[in-house]
Amino acid sequence: MLSCRELSDQADGFLDKEMSFAKRMQVRLHLMMCSGCNRFVNQMRVTRSLISTEARVEAAHNSADDANIDSILAEFDALKQSSGQNDPAAQTKDK
C-alpha cells in the first residue's frame, strides 16, 4: 500500500489523469482510507486553480500595460514604414 509520502508525490499525476489504471486504483484505495491525503489532494486542486487564476488577475491589473502597448505599436508602425518587410531574424515557423 502507498504511504502518504508516496501519495503526495503522485498527487499531480493523479489530478492530471496521467497514471496507469493500476496506479490510479492504488491512489483511490489510499484516499478512501486516509483523511490527511484527501485534504492534501484537495489542497493541490485548489493550488492549481489559484495558480491559473493568478495569471488572469495579474494580466488584468498590470497598470504599466497601456504605455508598453503604445510603445510597441509605435515601434512596429515605424519599422513597417521604414522597411515594409518581415523581420528575417524572427522567422519562426510554427511546427
Partner: protein, 206 residues
C-alpha cells in the same frame, strides 16, 4: 468584457485574434498582450536570470510577433508560437553574453519530507482550506498576491515550467521544446513548483 475573462477560452479565440490583428485592430493586440506579457517576462527572466533583460526580450518578441504574424500557420497554438520566439531570443541573448543556455533543473527540492514521519505518514493532518475559494481569494487579493510573490521567488526552471504549463496551459511537448528539457524533468519541476505554492498558501491559510 469582464477583466478576469481576458485569458479564458483563448485557444478558441486564436483565429479571431489573428483576423483582428491582420486588420490592424489595436484591441486585438491589447488582449493578446494582456493575456501573455506577464508570463513572457517571467519565462524570459527565468532563462536570462535577470528581470530587466526579460522585459526587454518580451518587448522585442512582441515586435517580432507583429512583423511575422502572417507567417503563423496555425500548426501550433498561437501561445506556443509566441513563447518559441521568446525563448529563441532569450537563448540567443544568453549565448551572446557567453553564458550557458540550459536551465538548471537541479533546483532545490522543497522540504516535503518534513511533513512526514519515518513511516511516511502525515505528522500533522493537512488543513481543510475551507475558506479558500478562487472567488473569495480574488475579492480579498491578499492570498493572490502571496501566490504571485511565491511564483516570482521560485527557482528559474520551476517558474518557467509553472508559467508555461500551469498558467499558459501549453501542451507538455511544447513546454519541453521551448525550454529544452525532457518530459520527465518537466513533470518533476512542475510538481515541485506547485508544491512550493501549496506550502506558501498553507502558511498563510492556517
Amino acid at each position: 468584457m469582464n477583466e478576469i475573462s481576458l485569458m479564458s477560452d483563448h485557444t478558441e479565440n486564436d483565429a479571431e485574434i489573428l483576423r483582428a490583428l491582420a486588420n490592424g485592430e489595436r484591441s486585438a493586440f491589447e488582449a493578446l498582450y494582456r493575456r501573455h506579457n506577464t508570463s513572457m517576462v517571467r519565462v524570459a527572466s527565468a532563462i536570462l536570470r535577470n528581470h530587466a533583460s526579460g522585459e526587454e526580450v518580451a518587448h522585442e518578441t512582441w515586435i517580432a510577433v507583429l512583423r511575422n504574424i502572417n507567417g503563423f500557420e496555425g500548426r501550433s497554438s498561437l501561445a506556443g508560437w509566441i513563447f518559441t520566439i521568446l525563448s529563441n531570443r532569450a537563448k540567443t541573448r544568453v549565448k551572446r553574453d557567453g553564458r550557458t543556455v540550459a536551465l538548471d533543473i537541479s533546483d532545490q527540492e522543497n522540504n516535503a519530507d518534513e511533513a512526514f514521519d519515518a513511516r511516511g505518514s502525515w505528522k500533522n493532518l493537512p488543513d481543510l482550506w475551507d475558506e479558500i475559494t478562487p472567488e473569495r481569494v480574488i475579492a480579498g487579493r491578499q492570498i493572490m498576491e502571496h501566490v504571485a510573490q511565491t511564483i516570482e521567488d521560485l527557482p528559474p526552471a520551476q517558474r518557467a515550467v509553472l508559467v508555461l504549463r500551469g498558467q499558459q496551459e501549453l501542451e507538455a511537448q511544447e513546454v519541453c521544446e521551448i525550454l529544452d528539457i525532457t518530459e520527465g524533468n518537466m513533470r518533476i519541476l512542475l510538481h515541485r513548483a506547485r508544491r512550493s505554492v501549496r506550502n506558501a498558501i498553507d502558511a498563510v491559510a492556517g
